[in-house]
């Protein structure tokens, strides 16, 4: 715990962004002075998609910038939402005059910063709209919370809104597709080992040798319940139960299933979890159209996993299957 393969905690985000751009071989570009990754060919003649949030969730969001998905990703400091000026720069760079959709995860900070950027863009005559992803069923969606958090389900919004935009749909239509995903996607996560901010001395929560956290977020926030470590089959069952009691799915309806690693979880364990998730969904008569196992929305080196279910119809299936430069999804 505590060791990291970094240089200076203050530079992790900018150095990472440079590393991402270098790995892209001219596909991507970093905006000067901002931790913003944009498609090198931006602006593209279509509705532009901008997402972002704190860093530490890699491959989210810079890993989803490319033909068929996002046009720009704005990277805040680790687990800290980006600032309005950076978001505004991203918007200006990718807008082709067809408008920009902001894909925001539901966190107070993200919403406020993105809203301020939208106000700045609108003041310059750019058409901006936004959607707020809130797929995390660990958080009660009630008066007593700020609503469910946005977590791994966000990448399906990127994919499906990205596909819709690539087809030439207008801002309203792209937003409608994004909202359809948001309405139909739910996630819950857990962890057996926490993560540690590069600039902090300690992990945000700590767990004994026989404990786990259920209902964790993706920012090292403590979960909703600390319990004794269980077998992964039981964990998968608990997570799926919570998801399915929130998202009503009828027999023979199709879904996509995502088993997402939190950053430090070996792929082996994700596949073992996938086995149980498949069995349980099959037992319930739910058809798994497609399964994703891997790391899509992480929390630094946290060890744990989240399960995401997206309820599909033919329209969503078509968009999910659309060509994209991003082969993660």
């Amino acid at each position: 715990m505590g060791k990291k393969l970094i240089n200076d905690p203050d530079n992790v985000v900018s150095e990472m962004i440079e590393g991402i751009v270098m790995a892209s071989h001219q596909r991507l570009e970093k905006l000067n002075d901002y931790n913003v990754v944009v498609r090198k060919d931006a602006p593209v003649e279509k509705v532009a998609l901008v997402s972002g949030g704190g860093s530490g969730h890699e491959p989210a969001h810079a890993g989803y910038v490319g033909q068929g998905m996002l046009d720009a990703a704005v990277a805040g400091d680790v687990f800290t939402s980006p600032t309005p000026d950076a978001i505004f720069e991203a918007i200006k760079t990718v807008d082709s005059g067809n408008g920009v959709l902001l894909i925001i995860k539901n966190y107070t900070g993200d919403i406020m910063n993105f809203e301020m950027a939208a106000e700045m863009a609108e003041a310059e005559g750019i058409e901006v709209d936004h959607v707020v992803v809130n797929d995390d069923v660990a958080v009660e969606d009630s008066l007593y919370t700020t609503g469910r958090r946005g977590v791994a389900g966000t990448v399906f919004v990127h994919k499906i809104a990205g596909a819709k935009a690539a087809q030439g749909a207008d801002l309203k239509e792209v937003k409608r597709s994004a909202e359809k995903v948001i309405k139909n996607v739910r996630t819950k996560g857990m962890a057996i080992n926490p993560c540690q901010l590069p600039a902090a001395e300690k992990t945000t929560f700590s767990l004994a040798e026989d404990e786990m956290e259920m209902g964790i977020g993706i920012h090292g926030e403590p979960g909703t319940e600390k319990t004794k470590l269980k077998k992964v089959d039981q964990i998968v069952e608990l997570l799926l139960d919570d998801i399915l009691s929130d998202l009503e799915i009828k027999t023979n309806e199709k879904v996509t299933l995502m088993i997402n690693g939190m950053g430090g979880t070996p792929l082996m364990e994700l596949y073992i979890a996938n086995r149980k998730a498949n069995q349980l969904l099959k037992d319930k008569g739910i058809k798994i159209y497609k399964t994703y196992v891997g790391e899509f929305m992480t929390s630094l080196e946290m060890e744990g996993l989240s399960i995401t279910i997206l309820k599909l119809d033919d329209d969503l299936i078509n968009l999910l299957e659309a060509e994209s430069e991003i082969n993660l999804l």
Partner: protein, 205 residues
């Protein structure tokens, strides 16, 4: 005037930077453990900017503070404190401030925070330090207390407000995700707000 204000803002920056670890620890307990890191990043930048420029008007100073926090802090606290300082810059004059001015400034700050964050008192946020502090100033004004007593009362009330967040259940911000588990911890934003108010007042007196 501007020089005194600059000094106060520099002192505030130092206090926040000194309390980086402490604020981060508070945030780790019920949030995501970055509040001190976020604010320290913003105030470090502010210090640089303050030290490299000269100012003639107070509102310039507050505007610079606002913009620097907005574009360097991020998270929830960046837009909130940023908007608070931005609103202050709109009303603050270069005159010697009396209690009426201070009440107006506090109310503008609160209006800014509420415009962005839509929170009320009692939701375990920075407002639980700032709203009681503003109320105290108002009362002092209505009771015609002198400035020094008013500021001392205000500071005491701010401290109480901060401590009262311990017993509150969060219903705004990241801590709200914890539900009842948020009870028993002091809110990081309420704490940073107290530190700022304390520095303003102590430097002012």
């Amino acid at each position: 005037m501007a020089n005194k204000t600059k000094k106060i803002l520099l002192e505030t920056s130092d206090v926040i930077i000194e309390n980086k670890e402490y604020l981060t620890e508070l945030d780790a307990a019920i949030g995501d453990g970055d509040h001190g890191i976020n604010l320290a990043r913003g105030f470090k930048k502010l210090k640089e900017k303050l030290e490299n420029e000269t100012f003639t008007e107070r509102n310039e100073l507050f505007k610079l503070t606002a913009m620097t926090l907005i574009s360097n802090v991020g998270g929830a606290s960046g837009p909130l404190y940023g908007t608070a300082f931005l609103n202050i810059s709109k009303v603050i004059s270069d005159e010697r401030l009396d209690l009426d001015d201070l009440v107006e400034i506090a109310e503008e700050a609160i209006a800014g925070i509420q415009k962005r964050g839509k929170a009320e008192a009692g939701e375990k946020t920075m407002l639980d330090t700032i709203i009681p502090a503003a109320e105290s100033l108002k009362q002092s004004r209505d009771n015609n207390l002198d400035l020094e007593t008013a500021l001392n009362n205000c500071l005491e009330t701010a401290a109480e407000g901060m401590k009262n967040t311990i017993e509150m259940q969060a219903t705004k911000g990241r801590a709200s995700y914890l539900g009842e588990r948020s009870i028993g911890h002091q809110d990081p934003g309420a704490t940073s707000a107290y530190l700022m108010i304390k520095t303003f007042i102590t430097s002012y007196l």
